[in-house]
């Protein structure tokens, strides 16, 4: 049961406040903000209480999404609800930021009114909600030449129009209905890698958490079929043939997915509802089919002047692109962050099969041989477009019945680093 829901900006401005059960003091929001800002670094802020009011909050889009509740509530339910609420707001407003929430507050009140009644969650399905939500989203998209460049000469398809602009998926789902405009569907395969490489260069841990996300802007879509790699297998024992089997350890599907063709042909069938939903989640531990994307060869030493020399050689082991050859070294920058005692080396883009090296010289007062032990680990954060670590691919994407009018289907792959640590 949820007593109140409110959304605060990171500076503590009240953006949305809705009291479902009544009886809460007016200062409840400020109490929360005081509590959350008074926390010291290591305290878990997820659950806080003031007398017998419990605050559960999440942070998304730089905002605090808070629900107040009683001690006996399920943390899983409340957290999931807040996550879902944030996702819905994102679907309806296009993006998640202080500005978009501020501009669409009427829409969000309307959403909240339909989602929760008297503190009980009624529904969060966008299929149901779309019948009730009347307010239209307000977006602030600055005029951009990029939009124009998508229009080919005399309506001809340009090269660019075959690639969805990155902002394509950040628009409100409702506008498709009124504008009758683009009916699009995005299928994203998103993987997050967690890797630990020991100081001896051996792989200590490699986990991949992946999901297939469907973002649908179709006003009506009866059924969609997503074909995965045919050699896709689940679990350790199921090894098919010798080929490069795509294997995951565990796999779970959204309730709405029908799996009757999954066993034989690896096809997922579902009727996507408007907005974003996670169709399938999977995970793989320790046994990656391909080589790790990055390897680091560090050399750390002390020079005579008591300076710390860090020589880093970073190699990208992804297959090189056939055509693009980057001759000059890409944009790079490096910065010393004294607060977190870290050197940040930023590389704007990095072609497969190449390597980069850097030498950092640091003046460290009273550098001793013992303090060399303190150096490390190296954490990499990156985004690999068009690559999945597990090798999962989408063979085809079919919609039935065939959509009237122009419709576009996009399949995107991306691998993020959740935590990619290399010990020194």
């Amino acid at each position: 049961m949820i007593s109140q829901v409110f959304i605060l900006s990171s500076k503590g401005d009240h953006l949305i406040y809705k009291d479902f059960r009544g009886g809460a003091g007016n200062d409840i929001v400020s109490i929360f903000y005081e509590k959350v800002t008074a926390l010291t670094g290591d305290q878990p802020p997820v659950v806080m209480n003031h007398k017998d009011i419990y605050f559960v909050h999440i942070r998304q889009g730089g905002l605090y999404w808070v629900a107040t509740t009683t001690a006996g509530s399920s943390p899983f339910t409340i957290t999931e609800f807040l996550n879902r609420l944030a996702a819905l707001v994102k679907d309806y407003c296009g993006s998640l930021s202080e500005k978009s929430v501020q501009m669409n507050f009427a829409l969000i009140y309307e959403l909240l009114d339909e989602i929760v009644d008297y503190g009980y969650i009624q529904t969060t399905s966008s299929d149901v909600l779309k019948n009730f939500i009347q307010t239209e989203a307000v977006t602030s998209r600055p005029f951009s030449l990029f939009d124009l460049s998508n229009v080919g000469l005399f309506g001809a398809e340009t090269q660019q129009s075959k690639v969805a602009p990155s902002s394509a998926a950040t628009r409100p789902i409702q506008s498709s209905r009124e504008q009758g405009g683009k009916s699009e569907i995005f299928v994203d395969v998103i993987e997050r890698m967690t890797v630990v490489i020991g100081s001896n260069g051996l792989l200590m841990k490699a986990d991949v958490e992946g999901e297939i996300r469907v973002k649908c802007y179709m006003p009506s879509c009866s059924e969609m079929r997503i074909g995965l790699n045919e050699e896709f297998s689940i679990g350790k024992s199921q090894l098919r043939g010798y080929g490069a089997a795509v294997r995951v350890d565990e796999c779970s599907f959204h309730q709405a997915v029908r799996l009757d063709e999954f066993d034989s042909h690896r096809i997922l069938r579902l009727c996507p509802s408007q907005g974003e939903q996670t169709v399938m989640q999977y995970q793989l531990s320790d046994d990656l089919p391909s080589a790790l994307p990055f390897r680091l060869f560090p050399t750390i030493e002390r020079d005579n002047g008591g300076r710390l020399l860090m020589y880093m050689k970073l190699r990208c082991d992804l297959p090189p692109k056939s055509l693009s050859q980057e001759l000059s070294s890409p944009d790079q920058s490096a910065e010393l962050k004294p607060q977190s005692r870290a050197v940040v080396w930023k590389i704007a883009r990095f072609a497969g099969g190449t390597q980069l090296s850097a030498l950092f010289k640091l003046e460290v007062p009273s550098l001793s041989s013992a303090s060399m032990l303190e150096v490390g680990p190296v954490g990499l954060s990156f985004e690999l477009p068009k690559i999945t670590a597990t090798g999962l691919q989408i063979r085809f994407l079919r919609l039935s019945p065939i959509q009237p009018g122009p419709s576009q289907r996009w399949v995107r792959y991306v691998t993020h680093s959740d935590s990619y640590t290399i010990r020194i």
């Binding site: 009240h14 406040y17 009544g22 943390p75 009980y120 309730q255 303190e374 935590s419």
Partner: protein, 701 residues
């Protein structure tokens, strides 16, 4: 964020709202209302616009209606009379052909929260229960619950309750779940909705139709059901099996709760369920939302209490991510400690070692103490790492290492040789109070094996005048006394100086009293002193890590899937069996978590038989001492001032001299006030208290 120009804004808005030109243009009217709501959510009091907004309510524009309702529901309680005007519009809307308008009107009618309106609301609500559209029924059902809570004393018509029961069979799953919720609230005094066999089976059969929120709600309510036969129980369990491995954490957690509650007297089944649920829980630990990760890790800690080896093969999932927040890292390390076994110990220690140099000092200290806890089972490897860390000469690391070593030595006395060797020279790096206290304790207890101990103490004694911390002074006194017992020649002189300073110049009563006590103790002869001061050096019974007995599931089943495991300190108390008895200082952090869980005012009556009044007073001093130094307060009846204490002490002495001759039966009565209740903390506290008292009276017989 109250605006400076709040009143100005309200005036402007009122002018706009009552402007006929605005009113005639729907778009402008709506935009003005939007402005009002925006001002309201920014925290400005716009209740003055109530009558204007009531007028705006009568419109065909649904969006405008919704906006006005948001306003009205927020301010209705301030304007009960004006709200009566709205009721008519609302009642008219309840007859609207559009079900959406009907449900909207009905919902807001009940959201006004005005007891005076109840009579107008009942009739539409009754009609709403029989509405054709499911969305109206959903609202009407919950409306009765709202109505009931407005007038908790008044009886809701039995006919309505019956109707609600019958609506459990409504084709719409949300209506069904809402009925459950409403009946739970209306029948709260009778213990909620009656869960009998037909209702249970009906709900279970329809579980698949509900969405995840409905499922978790139904599963929660069903926890009260007790199956009548074993067959029925197994039927239910096999029906629910697929929900146990649901990819949605709320459903999974609710199902496990239900499993644990209905099979509470079949431990085998509970354990099997725990094993089955570990997969989805692990998946939740890798969820993209860090709050969800945290909730999952906290619940895994609960599971591990009963099945310690449950996730052993998956220990790598609990390696901390580079960018994870410190609070998740800390919990993950606690889990890692629980998962240690012969195969993975090398990997886990290697990983933990990596965290010891973390930039965040709390993470670093948590990693060090985790290594110390593993050291109870694998002392050699851990001591090697800990000793290596001392070489870094970082003050927060050294402090954590010394404290960890103290705790380790207390549990595993066989480590003492290595520890004694390692301590050399670390007094220079130590800065904080806890670290130095730990060092002093080690120097006192193992003084005979640390060659430099007297010199270290001498430096501190020379600086005692500038020492601010009470705890350090007391610890210094004890350590010097202990060292004197084993190395009198080197220590005698400095002990004299210290006692002299503490008795003659020290202003703090506690320090002075302790010094006086030791002084008198020395008068009683060296043997007596030895008896009092050299108690136990270790307590191996606090136990090794591996092979601990598993706790029964019932101990934590009640708080599974509640906010309790996520709150601070809940697990802290469990994991903190550190702290040597002389150090009732449980916790190294100044903002102790424990003091929240365990704030006890403790009234002690010692009926101690005869011979040494001295000993008895020793115990009280110790107790009092720790009350000031330590976050965990163990105080003699709340807030005893030194004078009071002396008074009390004298009384007791008198008591003893009176009873001196006869041997009275011994007995100690301890009264603890604890709030909130925490059995674990209480038990630990009592163990430690008993150890303290045993130590002090061990030489008695």
């Amino acid at each position: 964020m109250p605006y400076l120009g709040g009143e100005e804004t309200v005036r402007e808005l009122r002018r706009a709202l009552s402007n006929p030109n605005v009113q005639s243009d729907p778009l402008r009217y709506r935009n003005t209302i939007l402005k009002v709501i925006r001002t309201m959510s920014q925290g400005v009091d716009v209740s003055g616009l109530f009558s204007e907004m009531v007028k705006a309510c009568a419109t065909v524009d649904v969006v405008q209606k919704k906006l006005v309702y948001v306003f009205l529901c927020s301010y209705a309680t301030l304007n009960p009379e004006l709200s009566l005007l709205v009721i008519n519009t609302l009642r008219k809307d309840c007859q609207d052909p559009n079900p959406m308008v009907r449900s909207l009107a009905l919902r807001n009618m009940t959201n006004l929260r005005l007891p005076s309106l109840v009579e107008y609301v009942e009739q539409p609500l009754t009609a709403g229960l029989r509405d054709r559209a499911a969305c109206v029924r959903r609202v009407a059902v919950l409306g009765w619950a709202k109505l009931h809570n407005l007038h908790p004393s008044s009886e809701i018509d039995a006919a309505v309750v019956n109707e609600l029961y019958s609506l459990l069979r409504d084709p719409d799953p949300v209506v069904m779940v809402n009925c459950l919720r409403a009946l739970e609230e209306i029948l709260k005094e009778e213990g909620g909705i009656a869960i009998n066999k037909p209702i249970t089976h009906h709900l279970l059969n329809r579980l698949k139709e509900c969405d995840i929120w409905g499922q978790s709600e139904v599963l929660r309510v069903l926890q009260r059901y007790r199956p009548q036969s074993e067959d029925e129980l197994f039927d239910i369990l096999s029906l629910l099996d697929s929900f146990l491995v649901s990819p949605h954490p709320p459903v999974m957690a609710a199902t496990l709760s239900l499993f644990l509650s209905i099979s509470s007297n079949l431990p085998v089944i509970s354990l099997a369920a725990l094993e089955r649920v570990s997969g989805p829980l692990l998946a939740a630990c890798g969820s993209g939302s860090r709050e969800m990760r945290f909730a999952a890790v906290c619940h895994i800690q609960l599971l591990l209490r009963s099945v310690p080896g449950l996730l052993g093969p998956h220990y790598k999932r609990f390696f901390c991510g580079y960018a994870e927040p410190a609070y998740i890292k800390e919990r993950k390390m606690q889990v890692l400690v629980e998962l240690v076994n012969d195969e993975n110990v090398a990997m886990i220690l290697d990983e933990l070692k990596g965290y010891c140099t973390d930039v965040n000092t709390d993470t670093a200290q948590a990693a060090i103490s985790a290594i110390g806890r593993i050291g109870r089972s694998y002392s050699d490897r851990c001591l090697q790492i800990l000793t290596g860390l001392l070489g870094l000469k970082q003050d927060h690391i050294t402090s954590a290492v010394v404290q960890t070593m103290r705790d380790l030595v207390w549990v595993c006395p066989q480590c003492s040789d290595t520890v004694c060797l390692a301590l050399d020279g670390c007094e220079e790096t130590l800065q904080d109070i806890q670290g130095r206290q730990a060092l002093l304790w080690l120097l006192g207890v193992y003084g005979e094996r640390i060659s430099t101990a007297p010199y270290t103490l001498e430096v501190l004694i020379d600086r005692v005048r500038s020492e601010a911390s009470l705890g350090i002074k007391m610890e210094l006194l004890t350590a010097t006394m202990r060292l004197f017992l084993c190395r009198p020649a080197e220590t005698q002189d400095m002990l004299g100086r210290l006692l002299h300073y503490c008795i003659e110049e020290e202003t703090d009563m506690c320090v002075r009293d302790q010094a006086l006590l030791y002084y008198r103790l020395l008068h009683c002869g060296i043997e007596k002193t030895r008896e009092v001061l050299q108690g136990r050096r270790s307590d191996p019974s606090l136990g090794v890590l591996i092979g601990r007995p598993a706790k029964p599931v019932s101990q934590w089943a009640r708080c599974f899937n509640t906010l309790e495991p996520l709150s601070q300190g809940a697990v802290e108390a469990e994991s903190d069996s550190r702290g040597s008895p002389e150090h009732v200082t449980y916790n190294s952090k100044p903002n102790a978590d424990l003091s929240d869980t365990l704030s006890c005012s403790h009234i002690e009556e010692v009926h101690s038989g005869s011979d040494s009044a001295m000993r008895c007073s020793d115990s009280s001093t110790n107790v009092l001492a720790s009350s000031i130094a330590a976050p965990l307060s163990l105080s003699l009846s709340p807030a005893v001032s030194p004078e009071d204490f002396e008074h009390l002490w004298l009384q007791r002495q008198a008591l003893h001299t009176e009873r001196g001759a006869e041997k009275i039966e011994e007995g100690i009565k301890v009264i603890l006030n604890q709030q909130p209740k925490d059995d674990d903390a209480l038990r630990q506290f009592l163990t430690i208290l008993i150890t303290v008292l045993n130590t002090l009276s061990s030489e008695k017989d």
